[in-house]
């Protein structure tokens, strides 16, 4: 059975590029437009991995990460941050909130798949 990934980004083009890459590798992809949308969808679908942007309207990626880690199912599920941000301070915040890894945009499809394969098991 294909593993499901929740791709969260307010940029439609990024969501489409992520979906294109992941679907091509056989993953099922659920898209969310911001943190709040992702939280709603994560409660409905128990996904195997969350790939989220940080700077988004309504709810940012760090808040989403923090809230997901409080949900039993998402305590150990890999949550990867895919963002333009690369500062040490914000990375440390992500790490402290429970992020599994940090990917700086733009992503390379092959490298993204390698990382996902590594953390999703």
């Amino acid at each position: 059975m294909a593993k499901t990934i929740l791709a969260v980004d307010d940029s439609a083009s990024i969501r489409q590029m992520v979906a294109f890459t992941l679907k091509g590798a056989g993953y099922e992809v659920i898209e969310a437009v911001d943190g709040q949308d992702a939280l709603d969808k994560a409660n409905i679908h128990k996904v195997n991995l969350v790939l989220t942007d940080i700077n988004m309207p309504r709810m940012d990626g760090l808040k989403l990460l923090e809230l997901l880690r409080k949900v039993t199912h998402y305590k150990t599920i890999p949550i990867l941050m895919l963002t333009t941000e690369s500062g040490d301070e914000i990375k440390a915040k992500g790490r402290a909130a429970g992020a599994t890894g940090w990917l700086v945009k733009p992503f390379d499809p092959k490298r993204l798949l390698e990382v996902i394969s590594k953390v999703i098991g």
Binding site: I14, F20, G101, W102, L103, F107
Partner: protein, 194 residues
Amino acid sequence: MAEMRSGEGQIKNQTVDKLVPEDQDGVLCTAEVDEYFMDIKGELSQIDRLVSDAVNNLVSNFRYISRLTKSHHDMVLAIEKMAAPEGSKPILELLEKQMDLADKIEQELEMAVTSLQFGDLVTQLLAHTTHQVEILNIELQRIDRQGNWKKKVGKEPLHTIHEGISKAVDVAKIKSKRKPVVQQGMQMGDIELF
């Protein structure tokens, strides 16, 4: 705040009295500056719309080419199956070349995935710049409303204006949000697993 309109060459060697209309609150000038900043914001918004439109079209073209490539790939495989083992050598060679071609197109498409993310970076930078422009506008207007330069005695008016502008820029810098995009190119970003 007419002093901001340096592009119109109105501030050189002029006193504040000449720059500012006889309006005690400076309302007229504030409106002009506001309009100027609104124009800048409008242009940034226009750039954002143009970039977004281009990105949408490119992504749509990308997806269509991707689907065509997959169909082409499948078709070559099907023809290859039909042609073998009786197929003549030239036909099989042609099919092999077709398959190579399809593989190369797929590789190029994969590379395009990285480049096509430029829209997100540009949009974030534009939002950041728009925010900075907004803050600067607010700070300049605040200083204009305070009108300290009108009341100060014993200072050169132009010097006082510069002081006010510097103060507004300093406050705008403090209030600016962290720059969300530091990338200078579209090379793949770093990856770190915790």
